[in-house]
């Protein structure tokens, strides 16, 4: 496997933000997740919940509700604006003030022609959805009391609005409230506190409400009477979700539980049916704020920042990768960039960047021992972002002299000068106008060029000590508009590979500034790629953990790649649930490819045989116990290391040392908001 000096970095204080809204699009099978920092993430259900796109957040933008209308995504929040997200350019398309104060909820009608927004001033505002805007149509209601939740009946003629202490049903033809359902307050202690209807659902014949008294209530639509009352928790029921066929219902609570209700026969074989509480899932430690139901799985998210995908085993017929619980806590993109020559790390936070110089050691020791540090790691720079937009990408040049970052409103390039003790930074003026904002940034290995991408095009900017100069724009021949997700440069600077969110990979020749070739499209998204420094082979890892090696010079897959496809990868490898984030190479041993995901890093030795289906995958301990002579016979290409967890970055420096950036889970948990009080016996 090889021996490395490892820099174990724990000073990247990455803090994910809580999930506050979710929406699942059944037609495109995409899940949109909004976080408290205002960012929106898109996951693909067909691709094992691979994070395809991220729309960066903004200060003061808080999203309370998300809503899919066809392929368009709308969001609204407490700033009082309804916004549409541009999923090609990963930014806001437009935002329109609803003039009703903070918006608590938006829903679209089943026909997809209108949006309804529930506002702070007690009105339900109807908007007509037009080609590239929304137009205000009319107001409904207008009494005091905020409208917290909304639900549209499948016929499109009625809207239920959850308010404080009551639910109102509005008729769309007349625009008046036709029913007023009073929700009782909690018992004893909470009697003085008003009851907030956090969530409401409008099924074909019943209205379901979840409130702050911890109850899930079912009301008759025609008479407005309470049919059934389930006390689910002592705290709040914050969210509800229903399956498409209206036979099962989920409620998310402050306790972190997700409770399932099902419509079951009262007596077996008879017509009469009743909603029965069936299962309780507890996968969260904090409040569950958002729920989404996607046929065979229930997806929940909340203040503990993780997205939990829970399979509903009664709807699955056989065991597969889909039938296991999936927790997504860490971002599926790299937030750390590493200057390999200078030994610098650039950490990307939403509102600032940090540049650190790695420590140094002069000691030597046996494998596994901790070496004494002769020079401590040092924070060189804390760069605050100007403006309200959050950073969407950042990069540091390999020589450590340039730093670039981009927000949705602008891109900035800085030149860094380091003396022995002083660090000075100067902003490079007059960046080319075509590069207004970038989805991905990277520097060429000799730090002479900056590559930035806007939607699908790659722009090349030459860097000199005098400033910067725009050189060329490279556009894919296919004319696709999907945003670029990954960039990889070969170490000789000749080739640049760009992978977009539609898993198309384009390779450009940077010496001729021309398109070189494209890689055949695979069905799963590209989660990581890297170009080998010696052979110029492109190693591509997809979200379903398939590995391909493509020879750029010969424009075809390599023999090793063909062998992998022929023999197939080991099932233990294919069943891993977190996608690979980064691909690097060992400069001393050209056969070594280093991959990492959030929980392990793995070295693939291309000279060794691949593990066959029946052999043991994690065989390192077994190999240790064998005598030297037999080891080679039993060893296979994959060597995993789980010593460092959870990982945000693994990279190889030029001086043959490995950098691992860890983020202990404990540090994240202690910074979360307060959980509900539990009393456990004997604690």
């Amino acid at each position: 496997m090889g021996e490395f000096t490892v820099h174990r970095v724990r000073f990247f204080h990455y803090m994910p933000s809580g999930i506050c809204a979710m929406a699942f699009n059944r037609r495109t099978e995409r899940l949109a997740v909004a976080r408290t920092d205002g960012s929106v993430e898109l996951y693909s259900r067909t691709d094992h919940f691979f994070q395809e796109k991220v729309v960066p957040g903004r200060q003061q933008r808080s999203i309370q509700a998300l809503c899919w209308v066809g392929k368009r995504l709308f969001g609204a929040g407490l700033s009082g604006e309804i916004a549409e997200f541009d999923l090609d350019n990963l930014r806001l398309k437009f935002s329109q003030d609803a003039y009703g104060g903070p918006i608590w909820s938006i829903v679209c009608n089943p026909q997809g022609t209108h949006l309804a927004a529930g506002c702070e001033d007690g009105t339900v505002k109807l908007f007509e959805i037009l080609e590239d805007q929304i137009r205000f149509e009319r107001n409904m209601g207008g009494q005091k009391g905020r409208i917290i939740s909304l639900a549209w009946h499948s016929s499109g003629t009625k809207i239920a609005a959850g308010m404080i202490d009551m639910i109102k049903v509005f008729d769309l033809d007349s625009g008046n409230a036709v029913q007023r359902l009073l929700v009782e307050r909690g018992s004893r202690m909470q009697q003085s506190q008003e009851c907030v209807v956090w969530s409401v659902l409008f099924l074909s014949d019943i209205i379901v409400s979840g409130d702050s008294a911890g109850k899930v209530k079912m009301w008759d639509v025609n008479t407005g009477t309470l049919i059934k009352n389930h006390q689910v928790t002592e705290w709040d029921v914050l969210t509800l979700s229903v399956s498409q066929d209206e036979t099962s219902l989920f409620a998310g609570t402050s306790e972190g539980t997700v409770v399932q209700f099902q419509l079951l026969d009262v007596v077996l074989g008879q017509e009469e049916k009743e909603w029965v509480r069936t299962r309780t899932f507890k996968n969260h430690t904090h409040d569950v704020i958002a729920l989404a139901e996607a046929d065979t799985v229930i997806i929940s998210g909340g203040m503990d920042t993780q997205l939990v995908v829970r399979p509903l085993l009664d709807k699955l017929d056989f065991k597969s990768r889909d039938s296991s619980l999936l927790k997504i806590l860490f971002p599926q993109r790299s937030l750390v960039s590493c200057a390999k020559k200078a030994g610098l790390l650039l950490f990307q936070y939403p509102t600032h960047l940090e540049l650190w110089r790695l420590g140094d050691t002069e000691g030597h020791g046996p494998p596994g021992c901790i070496l004494p540090v002769s020079r401590n790691p040092e924070k060189l720079l804390h760069l605050k972002i100007k403006g309200e937009d959050h950073v969407c990408c950042s990069a540091v040049a390999p020589c450590g002299e340039w730093i670039a970052y981009s927000t949705t409103s602008g891109i900035r390039l800085y030149r860094l000068q380091r003396d022995n003790k002083n660090v000075s930074i100067t902003k490079v003026p007059k960046l080319p106008k075509v590069l207004r904002h970038a989805h991905q940034l990277c520097f060429s290995p000799d730090s002479s060029h900056l590559y930035g991408t806007t939607s699908s095009a790659v722009h090349v900017v030459a860097l000199t000590s005098a400033g910067c100069k725009f050189e060329h724009s490279l556009k894919p021949k296919s004319g696709s508009t999907h945003p670029v997700r990954l960039l990889a440069v070969s170490s000789d600077g000749k080739f640049l590979a760009s992978a977009n969110s539609n898993s198309e990979i384009h390779i450009y020749n940077m010496h001729k500034l021309k398109a070189h070739c494209t890689v055949p499209v695979y069905r799963s998204g590209v989660s990581a790629m890297g170009i080998h420094p010696e052979t110029n082979n492109l190693v591509i890892v997809h979200a379903d953990h398939q590995i391909f090696e493509f020879s750029i010079e010969q424009m075809q897959y390599t023999d090793w790649s063909r062998r992998v496809q022929k023999e197939g990868l080991h099932h233990v490898w294919l069943e891993r649930d977190t996608p690979v984030i980064n691909v690097t190479f060992n400069p001393q041993n050209p056969n070594h490819v280093i991959l990492h995901d959030s929980y392990m890093f793995c070295i693939i030795d291309q000279s060794l045989p691949l593990p066959d289906r029946k052999s043991q995958f994690h065989n390192q301990l077994t190999l240790k116990s064998l005598p030297e002579a037999e080891r080679l016979k039993h060893s296979h290409a994959f060597k995993e290391c789980k010593l460092y967890q959870p990982l945000l970055c693994v990279d190889m420096l030029e001086n043959q040392s490995l950098v691992v950036v860890e983020r202990p889970l404990l540090d994240i948990t202690t910074n979360l908001p307060a959980p509900v009080r539990q009393k456990k016996f004997a604690t």
Binding site: Q193, W235, T669, A674, T683
Partner: protein
């Protein structure tokens, strides 16, 4: 009774001889004061008129001063002669012509404003921000406010570690960086207990 008495007393005062003199006097003083007031008002009005006239004159002079001398205007170009004639007629037109030489400066100002700024009323902005803050406070109060029965994350982690398969202590004792004051409190409590039991 009292009021009746008062009324009779007043009437007796009116009937008295010295009252007539006082009435004359008072009449004279009232007339004088009224006259004085009218004069004062008139003076005030005139003063205001004068001030307005002066101001008008000042403006006119200022306008004239700002205008370039006519020969200079004529020298600038032959074509604006027509416009100049019009400009002499009305004051507003004069302003228009006067703006012409400095048009470059004005346009630059506008451009700077429209580059990346948008105009909005500061009042609305404040109101929206305060309403947003009120909404955020509402959520905060409902979920984390008084009576919400919450505990700290350290307590949650402590429960977990105490009930795990390999039982451990509370977080503040496991992780030295957390819960310093809790640890100090526990130490103090220990000391007190030892003292109470007279163990030392």
């Amino acid at each position: 009774m009292k009021r009746d008495g008062g009324a009779s007393h007043d009437s007796s005062d009116d009937d008295g001889a010295p009252d007539e003199v006082t009435f004359e006097d008072s009449k004279a003083t009232a007339l004088r004061s009224a006259r004085e007031a009218a004069q004062a008002a008139k003076r005030e009005k005139e003063r205001f008129k004068e001030w307005r006239r002066k101001r008008q004159q000042f403006f006119l002079e200022q306008k004239k001063k700002r205008l370039l001398p006519e020969d200079v205007l004529e020298e600038i170009g032959d074509f604006p002669v027509q416009k100049l004639e019009v400009s002499e007629g009305g004051d507003e037109q004069a302003v228009g012509v006067k703006a012409k030489p400095s048009a470059g400066v004005k346009r630059a100002k506008v451009r700077r404003l429209q580059a990346n700024c948008s105009v909005m009323r500061a009042k609305d902005q404040d109101e929206a921000a305060s309403r947003q803050q009120a909404a955020v406070d509402f959520i905060q109060a409902r979920l984390y406010g008084p009576g919400s029965r919450r505990m700290t994350n350290n307590q949650l982690l402590s429960i977990k570690s105490k009930r795990a398969v390999h039982k451990g202590a509370a977080v503040q004792f496991m992780n030295k960086s957390k819960g310093a004051e809790l640890r100090a409190k526990a130490e103090k409590c220990n000391k007190r207990w030892i003292h109470k039991k007279k163990l030392i």
